[in-house]
């Protein structure tokens, strides 16, 4: 049986500052080595100053993934020499001397399958290596420490995945959960990285390190399973080793360094005292947690009668569910959900498009209300939406400028209807005997008004003029 386990590193990108100093957690905006200070550079004499907010956010993640949360948490030093690590040790968490990391055993449902979480730990991200030079001979390594000390949550799973598809589904759910919690933006470059442990029936465990995106994680596990199966079919032994994911060639490559032989000499980080996390703190954090995706979904279905599939899509994406929450009323909820899932999603399907759009919840509310009250036809609303996304103008301006408003002036509409009755005498007679066929006449009125006639009013006036 194929077994895959994951170690996911997720930056807490929504935090203001780094884990142990006041440099920015959002290092991406800075020029090389400008988001640094004595603490994150590990300068002699500097000490870590724990970001309490990071502890809270990490604990919230643990609670959302149904993990146990200990009463006291501690930090440990993981000792190893590497140029991206300014202190040559990493401050991290560990459960070997009792459960002291932010989260213990937990689980998350992926479809009908339960994926077990081993533990969740809070730690610091190292700096970033930049390689320059064309050949390996004249290659030089530069280090950018802007990232060093960024708060990172490591989520370790049991080897519960059997296929790369399950891995992918899990990551999508996890990504939605983290976004919904407001702790991270997984779509930022480098915000989510992972290592994977892969083994097939009869083979040893192979660790794949350095997978830089969720998309690649699925590919890497797929590649690795195929590689191992191919070895197995030729009776070649699968050895226990560490492999690296080659981002460019999309293959795994055996690491020459013997990482598994490193002795990290873990011991307690004395510069950070134990942190009490009693039940009062947990209760408080629980109360501050945003509503979960599943609870939102249930509410959308039961309260607004939104179809399950629509509710599912709406609740799992924080951007859309936030829009929904901010724009819906008791009466327009279904229409708002409709506009989001049928029109908006196709128009802002990337983060860049969302950020570039000038669309607000107010726009959405007005649009839904107008459709519902018949001020604007469903067809026209899509055009209006498109224009609003581009320009950010209010609905009334857009409707006027693009002439999208419904013809709801009774005399104007009556005149058009009179004309249609004259032109379509045969259909009028038919409608008198079979009222169902009146829709044909409505269609004709729509043709003449380019779809802008208020449908309800049109029907009313038609019936009146024909006398049915």
């Amino acid at each position: 049986m194929t077994m895959i386990g994951l170690e996911i590193h997720c930056q807490l990108t929504n935090l203001e500052s780094k884990l142990f100093c006041s440099c920015k957690a959002n290092y991406r905006e800075f020029k090389i080595n400008e988001n640094i200070c004595p603490v994150c550079m590990g300068l002699p004499g500097s000490l870590p100053r724990l970001n309490q907010e990071a502890v809270k956010k990490a604990t919230i993640i643990a609670m959302a993934l149904n993990c146990t949360t200990p009463e006291k948490i501690a930090f440990f030093r993981k000792n190893y020499f590497y140029p991206d690590s300014p202190k040559n040790f990493q401050i991290t968490q560990l459960n070997i001397y009792g459960d002291t990391s932010v989260g213990g055993a937990g689980s998350i449902m992926v479809g009908d399958k339960k994926i077990r979480i081993t533990r969740i730990q809070l730690e610091e991200d190292p700096g970033r290596l930049i390689y320059e030079g064309s050949s390996s001979k004249n290659q030089i390594t530069l280090v950018d420490y802007n990232r060093a000390g960024t708060p990172l949550v490591e989520i370790v799973t049991e080897p519960d995945f059997e296929t790369p598809k399950e891995v992918r589904d899990f990551l999508n759910i996890l990504s939605d959960v983290l976004t919904n919690l407001g702790v991270a933006n997984p779509s930022l470059e480098g915000a989510m990285r992972a290592d994977a442990n892969v083994s097939i029936e009869g083979g040893k465990k192979v660790e794949i390190k350095n997978i830089g995106s969720f998309h690649d994680l699925e590919k890497a596990t797929h590649f690795e399973i195929t590689r191992q199966e191919s070895l197995h079919s030729r009776d070649i032994e699968i050895i226990q080793e560490t492999r690296h994911w080659d981002d460019k060639r999309k293959i795994t490559v055996s690491s020459r360094s013997k990482e598994e032989e490193l002795d990290y000499r873990y011991f307690l980080e004395g510069d950070i005292p134990w942190i009490k996390m009693d039940s009062a703190i947990h209760t408080k954090l629980q109360s501050e947690m945003p509503e979960s995706i599943s609870s939102k979904k249930e509410r959308y279905v039961s309260k607004y009668n939104i179809p399950t599939q629509v509710a599912d899509v709406l609740s799992s994406d924080k951007y859309y569910s936030d829009l929904f929450e901010a724009s819906h009323t008791e009466s327009n909820a279904k229409e708002v959900a409709n506009i989001i899932t049928t029109d908006l999603m196709g128009l802002v399907d990337t983060r860049e498009k969302r950020e570039a759009s000038k669309f607000t919840a107010t726009h959405l509310k007005e649009l839904a209300d107008s459709v519902q009250s018949g001020k604007i036809a469903r067809n026209s609303s899509k055009n209006a939406l498109h224009e609003i996304l581009k320009t950010g103008k209010d609905l009334s301006t857009v409707v006027k400028e693009m002439d999208l408003g419904n013809v709801s002036d009774e005399s104007e509409l009556s005149a058009i209807i009179t004309q249609v009755i004259l032109e379509e005498s045969q259909a009028v007679e038919q409608a008198k005997s079979n009222p169902q066929t009146i829709n044909y006449l409505v269609g004709k009125v729509m043709q003449k008004t380019k779809g802008k006639a208020d449908p309800a009013l049109t029907l009313d006036l038609l019936k009146k003029q024909i006398g049915i």
């Binding site: 004499g45 000792n79 590497y82 140029p83 000499r265």
Partner: protein, 481 residues
Amino acid sequence: MNLKISALEYVQEVKTGNISAEDFVAKTIERIQNVDDKLNAFLTVNETSVDQAREIDKKIKSGYKVGDCFGMPISIKDNICIKDSKTTCASKMLENYISPYDATVISKLKQQDAIFVGKVNMDEFAMGLTTEFSAYGPSKNPWNNDYVPGGSSGGSAVSVSAFECVASLGSDTGGSVRNPASFCSTVGYKPTYGLISRYGLISYANSIEQIGPLTRTVKDTAFMLNMIAGLDSNDNTTIDNKNEDYLSGIESGIEGKKIGIIKEMIGEGIDPKILSATKNAISKLENLGAICEEISLDMVKYSVAAYYTITATEAGSNLARFDNLRYGYDFPLEGYEFNSYISKARCNFGPEVTRRLIIGGFVPSTGHAGKYFSKALKVKMKLTKEIDKIFKKFDLLVAPTVPILPFKLGEKIDDPVSLFLVDINTVTANLTGKPSISVPFANSNGLPIGIQLMADSLNDKLLLQAGYALEQTVSLPEVPL
């Protein structure tokens, strides 16, 4: 100009206008120039000291508010960072290292208008108790230049004892303030763990060490604590001392206090002269109204072994950052890859540091931690339990600071194990986090003897009261310099 005044006297004299800060600081610099060739206490002398003192005099004259130190010349151990000045830890590894920031104790003292006349010598990275492990040569004991001044804060003790400054800051990981204070006849103080911020103190064994003052009198130590103690947001291990005034009530005495005499610290291996001085101190304490009683701290017999295991482990981690990539000394990268470069660059550590780093790589490693590091932590825990139990019945504990007299330069340098044992009486305070003071008490043929007192955590005030009371019972000779 009399340089042989205490910190409190200095403040009084400058405040009242009897002396100017400029004159005093200029004379202090002159003194350093005259005697330090022989003593080697200073690694760097601050050339701008006199100018700074002149500015303070101006402020006093024009009625501006002046900080409580009034330009007092202070020396700083070279493992405490002062912005824009060299901080070498007496190591070749940091030969050219200039700190870009101030330690918390330094910014606090700057706010109080102290003047840092220089950075003083120490054993490399504070590992040693003689200053002989300084990469820049040993300091000499002002009482007899053939003798070691103690360590690792040897430069601090020498500079205070030889009137090259009024007070000094050292650091105490296992006795590094109290040991040289005892050897040079100054007061040396190791506060409750967390009382003084370590931000800007270059870590050796961060879970047990503290910055501490070395001064001429116990009152001066209380004054220095008033300047530098208290909560610091840059050091998560600091504790809130509620702005305690350590000088107020310092003369309250120790009438009725119960003092335990630690049996294990006056036993085998103690110099008879030290033993008789200790007995004398005990009877003086009794004369002051204290009730003294012999007690046993069984774990003391394992304390030195535990101390060296824990400190080596932490040092192995704390000193890992010195890979010469981001700062350090001049050593070009060409021709090396990362591992070979740092191996080569780290050869610049001296012999004692290297020895402890090797031990520090071994004792906490997989397969050996259970036998060494974990056991050491157990000793630390048990010792703390034992001493906490004793402090339920006793207010203070007493012992000689060092069980032997100062010894000659070179005498023990090739015998690390016998050097380690000199720490036997001082490491307990570090392993348990308790405050401890060394008070100059006797003199044996020109060699100083200090007495050590300990109190329970956060009882620093009581400890200073007791130290002051003991200090008042003796009159000691002046340094023959």
